[in-house]
Structures are given as structure tokens and as C-alpha cells.
Symmetry: C2
Subunit: 409 residues, 2 copies
């Protein structure tokens, strides 16, 4: 039995990049760039009006200006603006030659009004307005050829906007693993079946597929392997062939562990550990075959959920190049917590409650309230939980008010 | 011009549930239940072994036990266990009649060893072990007919496990809106084109589609509407026909606002507001047509990102039944922040940095460092940002060390 921290280190050592792939811009959410991105244009590409108004020369002290051109966005101005002249210009449009300033519409007044002319509508305007130029200068945000996104950047909507701006519609990112899910156990029937005596419905596969989805991965479910060598081997072989990561659940506790280990061995998988000092989740198996990674998760659903979050998520993050976040938040324990066995690091379901705002820090106190929990098959408890709190090994009692680390689930 | 809080209230008043739909279990992540779920079975469905070991009667004080049956998971035991007898049992398997306790494999020893018999392997075992029963009693987690998930529950992987356990493979949830995205502006070309003089690439659509994806929605992109009545009207009509929510970007500033408003009016859309005291994002238009909702977002990408997060996300949450979270986190400002115009509530890009651990609270101080920011077209600044900080209207200067509200982006 190895410690949880050591097990995680072993997992991370073997979780390696799967190279790169090119994906469309629309699929980049959460992915990590594997190339530097340079701009093929300046932004703004030209001196650009930041307002709807009238483009003038800032040195021109005239009061009334003749409008000699209309410049909507997207149009290239045709005329040179001289003193006493201006162009009507829209937000985002290119400034005409001879101008360096835009007077807002709100600061203008038709000059014709007072003259009563009806032949021309606004041939001249009276302009006032502040010292602000209301012009975005060419290249003030990005220079042509500038490095705008570095290799290793995690892509969010704003990065997608930048990629679109510079015309990058296919993006090189670290490849996402293909993940296969297999449930093992002769007692299992699929959720659309009514279990007979001695049977239960398979809940781990549905849960694992959603946990994968939360990481941006569409897992492939390969079905239930009955507790026999041939059937299990066949499914594991299939998984190893079509996926980079294989998630097994069940079939790894004391009595049947050797069986699954034998199957994995016969498939060429090297087992790195098979017991972790963690509760729930002790009978967790981790193996590799070349770059392929196999997690033999326990059979009990609470253990599956916990081990996935603590070991599989960091492995996925590392493979796709995301920095693994320490997802724990310190909170105050709402009531005393006691336990007998202190050999393992424990994760226990809690509900988060908020207290009054702490005057000094302005941040309200956050409390972790331990829930009633019957053990690792008691999934119902996790539907009431906001998180799991960590109790390090060696610790027996935690007093009300002490700080505990909580991971949201 | 109305205040940001008032604008949000108007948006939420008009964002209404779109009824329910049945979806497969595999698609439930983040969705909200619109039915109560009752269990059709007890869990565990039978007295179940929590260990691999030997099932015995706890009153039986024998030392050596005859193994009269093997009970793997999924099998219904055939024999009655009497005193002096036991059954070899696996984790998850049904306890045989006459037993109420399981002795772990680790606490057993083959009785044959000492006798040197080679005909039968382990016909008897010597059992020791603790007082623990290692049995999960039928119905200890869930009773048959029990309400296990309430209408209104947000579905996570653990809820999917429960739905699978009770055989719910089709789940009734609040319907997700269909969202259409239209970019407006004659200066725009699609990202796969090289912009000519006066043009820029359309970046808002790519960004909005990823912002929608982050909310679990696959948006439909309808293209660029050139700045003319007929073309714009045609696309808006199409959007109103096929979507529940229409997101327009651009075409809503002073000069062209009337134009888009005229188009919306001619399509039967009622405009509820067209200017919000928010920076960036003043020229934001919000309208409805029956239950259909239209957001006329600004043209500048930073404003689009901000207004989507502040107004569109809460509307989506309300429609699909998720509780809208107040996503702001208080942090200390790292350096003085000054501004001239205090009429609008402002959102300014910042980088989050962490300080030393505060001894009292155990939580490290978190700082917001304002970034260099040229204004609402300066998308590059948002790729360097971790969040946007809120400066309420009326506030001119915020001193270094003061608390500010930050929303991660």
C-alpha cells in the first residue's frame, strides 16, 4: 500500500503528451496551444474611429464644417479633408486623409437649421466637443508580426477572438486522449434493465462518462465485462486498441484483484501500484502499456468518483497540457469529526454553508458540514454533498472550527 | 440610459422557462431535473458483503468452518449456512441464509494446511477477525419508493449514478434554449479571409460560440449581416424563426442604432432598453418577441465578452433552471486605480496574483492587478486577464489595498 501523494506522482510520471493535432477554432475551448501565434495584421489595421461622428483635423478651429463624404465602416475614404471640411464617419470606420480626430454626433448640430435651407440636408455642421481624439491609432493594440499567443496558452473565448482576428481557423493544440470505459462484475445489469435477485444496475459507467464530459472528453463506453478471464480480456484488449486511457471499474478488490491483474498482464500492461492508502479507493490499480494508461478503479461508486477526481483528472490535465490546479479550498469544520482508522488519507462528503461576513477580510466565513455517510457504496450521500473534505493520514479527530481542505465535487 | 442592475432585472424578468424535454442520461451534465425521481429498488437490494471473505453466523463460535458454497457477485446463494459452516463470498455478493457477518480473507487461514491433506483444497478455514459485520444491510442507503432526487436538482456525475441505479435512462429536464448568433457590420470578413483596406476579421462570432459552449450550448452561427435593412432583416427573421435567443453583435451604437432598432421593430421585436450605464457595453439593446429574447450586443469584442457574461449568462441560467451564482470574489487591489467618468459601472481587466498566507485565516491574500487596457476594442488585454474588476458608478478612485469585486473570465 503506497501513500496517496506517491501514487499521484507515479500517475503523473506516466501521463505524457500524445503529440499535437489541428482542430477548428470552434472546438478550442479548454484546449492548449502547441504553437506560437503571430499576427498577420496590425490591430487596428488603420486609424479607426471609436465613435459615430465627424472626422476633422484637430488643428482646424472652424465652427461650421462642410460634410464632403460619408464613411460607413468597411469603406475606404475617397476624399482628402481640408480645413473647414469634415466627413461623417461611423464607429470602426477608417479615418480619411487630413483628419486625426472625431467629434461625437452628440457634440454636433446641423448648421442648416438656422439658415432655413431646405435644398440640402446638413451640408454643414456646427461642431464642438472635448479634447479627446476618439481615434484608435493603427497598430496600437497589436503590431503586424507580433507574438500574440504563446505555445502553452489555455484557450478561452477571448483567445478564440484573437485567433479569429489573425485568421487562424485551424489551430495546433495538444491532442486529447481517447478514453474507454469498461465496467466489470457479473452482478451488473445495464440501467435500462430491471435487476434480478443478486444483481444491481451499472451506475459507474454513466457517472464516469459525465466526469469525462466535464473535462471536455467524450468517453467511449465498451460495456460490462462478466467476471471471467476470456470476456474481460476481450474487452480490455479492445479498449487498449482504440483508446489512450482505459478506465476499468470493479474487479480489483482482494479476492478478484489477481484475476484482473492476470488479465492486464496477459495484455502486456505493467502494473505500477495496486493499493493506495486512501479512503475510499484503497484497491486502485494503475498500469501502463507503452504510452497507454490503465486505471483499475474500485467497484463502489463513491470510490470511483473520488479516485477519478484525485488521480484521473490530473493525468488528463497533464496529457493535454493544462496546469493541474490544486482544487482545495480551506474551510472551517462545522462540527467535530472523529474516525478510528488513521492509516489512510480520507475524503468525506460535506455540505458547504456560509456564515456571516468577517468584518476584517470582507469575505464571509465558509463552513464544511460533514454529512451522514454509510461508506463507499452510499452514492445518495454524494448527491447531497457540495464537496469532499480531506483528512490526512495519522489524524484521528478534527475539532469543530478547525480548518479543513475541501474539494468541490 | 438605465443602470446595470436595473437592466439585469429587466433581462431576468423576460428570460422564462421554455418547458421541459426528455434527454438521455449521457446528456444530463449541468441540466436541471423537472421531475421528482423515486427509487424502484432498495439499495443495497439485499444484505450484501462489503468485503471478499467468508460469510458466517455471528453467533457461531467455531474456530474451523467448512466452506459449503462459493458466492461470487451476481449469484443467488443456494445453501443454508449452519453452525460450523461458511460460504466463500465476494464483495457485492448476496449473503446466504443463516449468515449476518463476513470475515475478511486477510483474517482467514486454510485449515487443511496443518493436516497435510492434498485431496481437497481448503475444505475448511480457520477464521478470526474483528467485531465488524462487513455487511451492508438491504435498504440501508435507499428504501424502495423513496424520493431520491428532487425536481430542480442540478445534475452532476453523482446524480447520473443515482439515475442509472434506479433505471432512469431518459430524464425530464428544463429545455435548453436554441441560440442563434449574427454579426453585423459591412467592415467584417470571416476569419478565413484576408481583410482588405477598411476591413477587419469577424472575431465576435467565434468568441460568442465558445462562451455559449462554456454554458453547455451549441450555438448556431447565421453569418454576417451587411449594414443594410434588407440583408439584416432577412438574417434576424431567420434567427427569430429557428432560435429562442438571438445574439446580435455590432450595429447598435449611436449612428446606426436606429437602423437596427428599425429592423427589430419591423420583425415585431419590442425593445426594452437600448443603453446601459456600463463600461464597456453602453450601447446594449435588449428586446423580446413573445418568449423569444434578443440581445443586441455592442460591436467591440471586449464589450461583447463582458455583456455576455453579465447579462446573457444569468438569462441562460434562469431559462434552464440553474440558480444564478454571484460570481464575484473580493480581492485586494494591487495598485491605485483612477478614472475620470464615473457615470457608468465599469469592468476593467485584471490579473490575479496571490500573496503570502494570512496567518489568522490560513487563506492566502489574493490581489487584483489592473492591466494596461486601451478600451473596448483591445481584445489582446483580455487574453492576459484572469478576471474583470467591478468599479461601481459614482466611484472615481480606488486606493491600493482596497477590496474590489472580481469576476473570473
Amino acid at each position: 500500500m503506497i501513500k496517496a501523494a506517491k501514487a499521484l506522482n507515479i500517475v503523473l510520471k506516466h501521463a505524457k503528451s500524445l503529440g499535437t493535432e489541428k482542430i477548428p477554432l470552434s472546438a478550442t475551448l479548454g484546449r492548449v496551444l502547441s504553437e506560437n501565434i503571430y499576427s498577420d495584421i496590425a490591430m487596428p489595421p488603420f486609424d479607426r474611429s471609436a465613435m459615430d461622428g465627424f472626422a476633422v483635423n484637430s488643428k482646424d478651429k472652424s465652427k461650421a464644417f462642410e460634410i464632403i463624404e460619408d464613411i460607413p465602416a468597411g469603406k475606404v475614404p475617397k476624399k482628402m479633408i481640408k480645413f473647414g471640411q469634415c466627413a461623417r464617419i461611423m464607429t470602426g470606420a477608417m479615418l480619411p486623409k487630413g483628419t486625426d480626430k472625431v467629434i461625437k454626433v452628440e457634440d454636433s448640430e446641423p448648421a442648416t437649421k438656422s439658415r432655413g435651407s431646405s435644398t440640402f440636408k446638413e451640408p454643414k455642421v456646427l461642431l464642438s466637443g472635448s479634447l479627446k481624439s476618439n481615434v484608435s491609432k493603427a497598430g496600437e493594440d497589436i503590431k503586424k508580426g507580433q507574438l500574440i499567443l504563446k505555445k502553452g496558452t489555455k484557450l478561452r473565448p477571448q483567445e478564440a477572438a484573437m485567433l479569429a482576428t489573425v485568421g487562424k481557423t485551424k489551430v495546433k493544440v495538444l491532442r486529447q486522449p481517447r478514453v474507454a470505459v469498461i465496467s466489470t462484475g457479473s452482478e451488473l445489469v445495464e440501467p435500462n434493465h430491471k435487476p434480478k435477485a443478486g444483481q444491481i444496475r451499472n451506475s459507474n459507467a454513466s457517472m464516469l462518462l459525465l466526469q469525462l464530459k466535464r473535462q471536455g472528453i467524450d468517453g467511449q463506453y465498451l460495456g460490462i465485462a462478466r467476471d471471467n478471464f476470456v470476456a474481460t480480456r476481450k474487452l480490455i484488449q479492445k479498449g487498449l486498441k482504440q483508446a489512450d486511457i482505459l478506465l476499468l471499474s470493479g474487479g480489483v478488490s482482494v479476492g478478484d484483484y489477481d484475476f484482473v491483474r492476470e488479465v492486464l498482464k496477459s495484455c502486456g500492461v505493467k502494473v505500477h501500484f495496486n493499493k493506495v492508502a486512501i479512503k475510499p479507493g484503497k484497491p486502485t490499480v494503475f498500469g501502463t502499456k507503452g504510452k497507454k494508461v490503465v486505471f483499475g478503479l474500485p467497484g463502489n461508486p463513491v470510490a470511483v468518483l473520488v479516485i477519478f477526481e484525485l488521480f484521473v483528472v490530473p493525468a488528463l490535465d497533464k496529457i493535454v497540457g493544462r496546469r493541474t490546479k490544486d482544487n482545495f479550498t480551506p474551510m472551517k469544520l462545522l462540527k467535530d469529526f472523529k474516525r478510528r482508522d488513521t492509516k489512510r488519507e480520507q475524503y468525506y462528503p460535506i455540505k458547504i454553508t456560509r456564515g456571516n461576513r468577517d468584518f476584517q477580510s470582507q469575505v464571509p466565513d465558509t463552513f464544511a458540514a460533514p454529512l451522514v455517510f454509510h461508506g463507499s457504496a452510499h452514492m445518495q450521500a454524494l448527491t447531497k454533498a457540495d464537496g469532499i473534505m480531506q483528512i490526512k493520514n495519522g489524524i484521528k479527530n478534527v475539532k469543530k472550527g478547525a480548518m479543513v481542505n475541501v474539494r468541490p465535487i
